[in-house]
Amino acid sequence: MLQFCRTKFVGFEQESEEILKIFGTLDDTLYAMQIEMKLQLPELVITSITGKMRRFTTPFCEEAQNFLKNAEGLKIEPGFQSQVKKLIGRPGCQHLGNLINECCESIIPALLYMKYKELKEKDPNVLMSEVFGQLKATYPQMESFCTTFSHLNEM
């Protein structure tokens, strides 16, 4: 019998060359919440974040929204997940922290896909190694913590 069900959605919108807008929602048997954040490119720094907890288990859960601002200034680099847990998850809400990490973990695949789409419009036969090369030139910091990048490097 189904005991628990959770759905998470993450969406990216390119607001400008320098700003990426990220939306995240989490809906499950116990909780429902949403966040919206802005990421500065190419530094990969969270410049703003807002969120709302729509369904929760205790009257104290909503206080966790106050901890969201702790994520402002956070750089997406190796170890960012632990930082999110430390700054928002543990003092605020683990599920809110989980949603932020879900969004932040999507940054590399999102940038990769967006670059691929951009280059494919110019050249339908573009190779992933070319996509990787261009992305690496813009975001050199990615290679230090992304295995996908190191794999693509071998392609």
């Binding site: 998470k8 919108e13 104290f60 683990q94 990769l112």
Partner: protein
């Protein structure tokens, strides 16, 4: 404005035979589609684990499916995140993320029952709904988040 990238992740936790729990996590984004299923015992031991990858931009991800076997027999407890990313994440972060989702699911599955019983009762009598009351009810949750942390807690 049109979204440039989307990701969906679904988690389902089922009660299975002999007080075990079956947890399924599925993810789909522009670069990857895959699924991981684990069976966890009442004592949170991973009894079975399987996975499948339908779409991936990296061949290493498909190759990493065999690594799931290394999670068998492990207990869902402190240090499991490091273990998952150390064993699977190095090869395929997507697959590691799905394993972690299953692990979260096993924990949430164990928590949802007691919460479903206690929380509606507490909401009915708001004056009794204190942090002390919920911590007394679920002491293992103490210091885990704002709701389970008292002012005097470090």
């Amino acid at each position: 404005m049109v979204l440039s990238y989307t990701k969906n992740k679904e988690l389902h936790v089922f009660e299975a035979e002999n007080k075990t729990r079956e947890v399924r996590a599925r993810m789909r984004d522009m670069c990857f589609e895959g699924e991981v299923t684990i069976k966890a015992s009442k004592t949170m031991e991973i009894l079975e684990i399987t996975g499948k990858i339908e779409t991936s931009i990296s061949e290493k991800c498909s190759e990493s499916l065999t690594l799931l076997e290394k999670m068998k027999g492990r207990r869902i407890a402190g240090g499991i995140t490091k273990l998952v990313y150390g064993i699977i994440g190095k090869k395929c972060p997507y697959l590691a993320s799905l394993v972690m989702e299953c692990i979260d699911g096993a924990i949430l599955g164990a928590t949802v029952g007691p919460l479903e019983k206690a929380i509606p009762q507490l909401w009915r009598s708001r004056e009794k709904f204190t942090k002390e009351a919920i911590i007394e009810f679920m002491p293992h949750m103490r210091n885990s988040c704002v709701a389970y942390t008292l002012k005097e807690d470090p």
